[in-house]
């Protein structure tokens, strides 16, 4: 089969001197699914950005469909037949599916008017051609994330993409949605399209990829048939050593209740009733995991717990002290730390340095400041220590956070929150976008926090993570707690599925949840 994309000797050095791609050559065959794997900061996203014309390399050539190309912007790449599904979806949430789809190349009526009917017909047409069902006249904000991603894929197909690039498409998906996405990708492959995707989940790579390219330290280590490599082989190639995956033993002792909610309800700005009468408690020395399909109230629940939103009704207690009405800083001072689900929105100030981001929650306290003056020497020492302890890959602590790779930004957030020495840790998607090695690292840190007698409330879309770490599990559906699993070792991901999808629910949950 012929190569549809041929990348040769790409070298990309960012303005601050970071070499992100060094002599990178990859050849992608037409009609295949090609995975790119590698540790955080290995240069995967950079390579995709180079191919799609978002940034330009210093050296090297790219050929697409047999012709050498030189994209000056993503526009050029789109014109030539390359589509990209970004990790942060590029959709206008108040517009409908059809409007998002035709944006920029709208069908017109009488020269100046939008042709609403044609718009919807075109949407149906592409959707049908690739068997990717979407509701054309629904607004994006009313759709679950999996469907939104599908709209994003359709957008690329509508623009006649032959090669589709997906950067960590499954990071935000539930197992069910991931399965649907994979069916979609296989379907597209059957239609002759070529797929290039990045993933940290090696099981997924094994499941659908035909070929795998492994990157390490800005270089391509190898490109192989996926069938020829085992998961262990791949992770070995990625890090140059073996990664031990261990079953985390449950802690023996749990203490008193540290975090408790009573009858929490929340009505959001769009007047949607997103949380209904949520009550639970977390004890010292346990990890309470919250499972659920994304968009069922988890985001709001976490924001309520951390003081970023105020409940419409109900109360939250930390060590029997009511915290509603307190500012996020006050809540933190009581002893609560928060790893937010969206690191770019609530986790970091993206233009501030690594150093500044590591102390934003504590800069006003001793030993970081004295009489309103920041003590930079102490701060630098402290942050250098954190960078080392948490394996944050950065040039130095003055580097702006937005020039770190996605996984390393996550580590900055985790480092800050864990080093705050909280009584309660609210961890939302704690390992989103980090590589296998770092995932293990963060997991063992969470376990350590638990063993130190802290209470951990963890929200995760990754069921394996929930099952592996939790002392107990709650399942949320449509803003309500629908199941409580006191002993996670007795259940599998398949057992949780029906609760997550609202097909099944436990009765009389009230008392039990407080265990």
């Amino acid at each position: 089969m012929a190569a549809i994309l041929e990348v040769k000797n790409i070298e990309k050095i960012y303005p601050d001197g970071v070499i992100a791609n060094k002599d990178v050559s990859v050849s992608v065959e037409e009609g295949t699914i090609h995975a790119i794997v590698g540790e955080n900061g290995a240069g995967k996203s950079t390579l995709m950005k180079v191919i799609f014309g978002i940034t330009r390399p210093q050296n090297g050539t790219i050929s697409f469909q047999g012709q050498e190309v030189n994209f000056k912007s993503p526009d050029d790449a789109i014109q030539q037949g390359i589509g990209m599904v970004h990790q942060h979806l590029m959709l206008a949430s108040d517009l409908t599916v059809a409007e998002n789809l035709v944006l920029g190349i709208e069908p017109k009526r009488r020269g100046i008017f939008l042709d609403d009917h044609e718009m919807i017909r075109l949407t149906r047409e592409v959707a049908q051609r690739f068997s990717l069902e979407v509701p054309p006249d629904k607004k994006i904000k009313d759709l679950p994330i999996g469907i939104r991603q599908r709209v994003e894929i359709l957008k690329a197909l509508y623009r006649k993409a032959e090669l589709l690039i997906l950067d960590e498409p499954t990071a935000v998906l539930t197992p069910q949605e991931t399965e649907v996405l994979f069916r979609t990708l296989k379907q597209l492959k059957a239609n002759g399209k070529t797929i290039l995707f990045i993933s940290h989940k090696l099981r997924e790579v094994k499941e659908i990829a035909d070929r795998v390219t492994v990157m390490r330290d800005s270089q391509v280590i190898t490109t192989e048939d996926a069938a020829k490599l085992s998961e262990e082989d791949i992770s070995h190639l990625m890090v140059g050593r073996d990664i031990r995956t261990e079953r985390i033993p449950q802690s023996e002792t749990t203490g008193e209740v540290v975090l408790e909610t009573k009858g929490l309800s929340f009505v959001n700005e769009d007047e949607i009733f997103v949380l209904k009468d949520v009550s639970f408690s977390v004890r010292a020395g346990e990890i309470l995991g919250l499972a659920g399909v994304e968009g069922n109230g988890q985001t709001e629940l976490v924001k309520l717990l951390t003081g970023l939103l105020q409940p419409t009704d109900g109360e939250i207690f930390v060590r029997s002290k009511a915290i509603s009405g307190l500012s996020p800083r006050k809540v933190r001072e009581i002893g609560l730390a928060h790893i937010p689900e969206d690191r770019m929105e609530n986790g970091v100030a993206d233009q501030a340095s690594v150093k500044e981001n590591l102390i934003v929650d504590r800069y006003y306290k001793a030993p970081y400041s004295r009489r309103s003056r920041l003590l930079w020497k102490t701060i630098t020492d402290h942050t250098l220590d954190l960078v080392k302890r948490f394996h944050i890959l950065t040039r130095n602590v003055d580097t702006p956070v937005n020039s770190l790779s996605g996984g390393n930004i996550q580590k900055v957030v985790v480092a800050r929150e864990l080093s705050a020495d909280p009584d309660v840790l609210i961890a939302s998607q704690p390992t989103r976008g980090v590589d296998v090695g770092s995932e293990e690292h963060i997991h063992s840190l969470l376990r350590q926090v638990r063993d130190e007698g802290k209470a951990v409330f963890m929200v995760s879309a990754d069921l394996d993570e929930v099952l592996k770490l939790s002392s107990r599990i709650l399942v949320i559906y449509n803003g309500e707690i629908v199941a409580h699993i006191p002993d996670p070792s007795m259940v599998s991901a398949e057992d949780l599925g029906p609760y997550m999808l609202g097909v099944k629910r436990q009765e009389d949950l009230g008392a039990e949840i407080h265990s």
Partner: protein, 334 residues
């Protein structure tokens, strides 16, 4: 008070409301379009002032109403384009840029006024043109309604019409779709090859056009001269009206109607024996009140929705609506 009440319930009052709301609708729509596009333009006060001035001056010196209209509109659009240049090209903060435009407009019109007429207060020495009044044949013969709706300045009808034009522009044209997309998620728009800066520039220029019509009406319809700072805060009240109306045409129209009524009321009460300073406060106080009431109502409604949903849940099983908007049936809670 009874003569006052009489006059408020007269058709004259209705007529006055329409008259007074004209210079609010235009700039309110002008603000709404920029807010939708994500480039809030708070320089409508300045845009109106400049157009009001140049309309009168060009009209007086050329004697042509058409040229006056064109001059006023061009100056408004140019102001929008200038603000766009500062903000989009030179990366100035748009709020600071707009404040500068407002101050410039106030000072510049007074300066030119003095240079051209030797008067720093108004153009009363010039012969100003006015836009014609329109008497609508059939409408005027309807008893009360005719008296209210007929005989207005042509720009008053244009104002009513512009709310409809605005609707079609925003919801039924490709440009409108792009404006909404750019305002909501510029990255999304950029990712499909839309030139975000250009769309925002167009929105600002359209805003200038709307602002210009409001200004022209003030000096060449509402009255027939230009006076220094004659906009008297209308460009700001318009922003309140658009916000209150959620930047949507009907909402903005209704909010402008509300503020227009209060304004007209203030004019009527002026005939009663109350200190005029107090009366002049009414429109502004009403603006603050309306915004506060609006905020309270939004709060209340959220509370109510929660209560209703809870009640419904416990009383009877609601229909099985799809998540996440609907309240799910609580099995076995009976």
């Amino acid at each position: 008070m009874s003569p006052l009440l009489d006059s408020i319930f007269s058709s004259d009052f209705g007529f006055a409301v329409l008259r007074v709301m004209t210079p609010l609708i235009f700039p309110a729509l002008g603000f709404a379009i920029t807010d939708l596009a994500g480039v809030v333009n708070i320089s409508l006060e300045g845009m109106m002032l400049m157009s009001a001035f140049f309309g009168v001056i060009v009209g007086a010196f050329t004697g042509s109403l058409l040229l006056a209209l064109l001059a006023g509109i061009l100056i408004g659009i140019a102001m929008g384009a200038a603000l766009g240049y500062f903000h989009l090209k030179l990366k100035t903060d748009i709020i600071l840029g707009a404040i500068a435009m407002n101050m410039f407009a106030s000072g510049f019109t007074i300066f030119l006024l003095y240079v051209l007429t030797g008067d720093k207060g108004s153009t009363s020495s010039l012969k100003s043109l006015v836009f014609p009044e329109v008497h609508i044949p059939l409408l005027r013969s309807i008893p009360v309604l005719g008296d209210i709706l007929s005989g207005h300045n042509v720009l008053t009808y244009a104002a009513l019409l512009s709310a409809i034009v605005f609707f079609f522009l925003i919801f039924k044209t490709p440009l409108g779709l792009r404006i909404r997309a750019v305002g909501q998620n510029p990255d999304a728009a950029r990712s499909v090859g839309i030139n975000v800066d250009r769309v925002q520039l167009y929105a600002l220029m359209l805003s200038g056009l709307f602002g210009a019509l409001g200004g022209l009406y003030l000096s060449m319809g509402y009255v027939s001269w230009f006076a220094r700072d004659m906009t008297a805060g209308r460009g700001w009240i318009a922003i309140a009206a658009a916000t209150l109306g959620g930047n949507m045409p009907l909402g903005t129209f209704l909010a402008a109607l509300l503020f227009g009524s209060v304004n007209a009321l203030a004019i009527y009460i002026a005939s009663v024996n109350i200190p005029s300073e107090l009366i002049q406060m009414i429109p502004y106080v009403a603006t603050v009140l309306a915004l506060a009431l609006y905020a309270i109502r939004v709060q209340k409604r959220r509370q109510k929705i929660k209560e209703e949903a809870l009640e419904e849940e416990y009383d009877s099983g609601p229909p099985d609506n799809p998540p996440p908007a609907a309240a799910k049936q609580r099995g076995g809670s009976s």
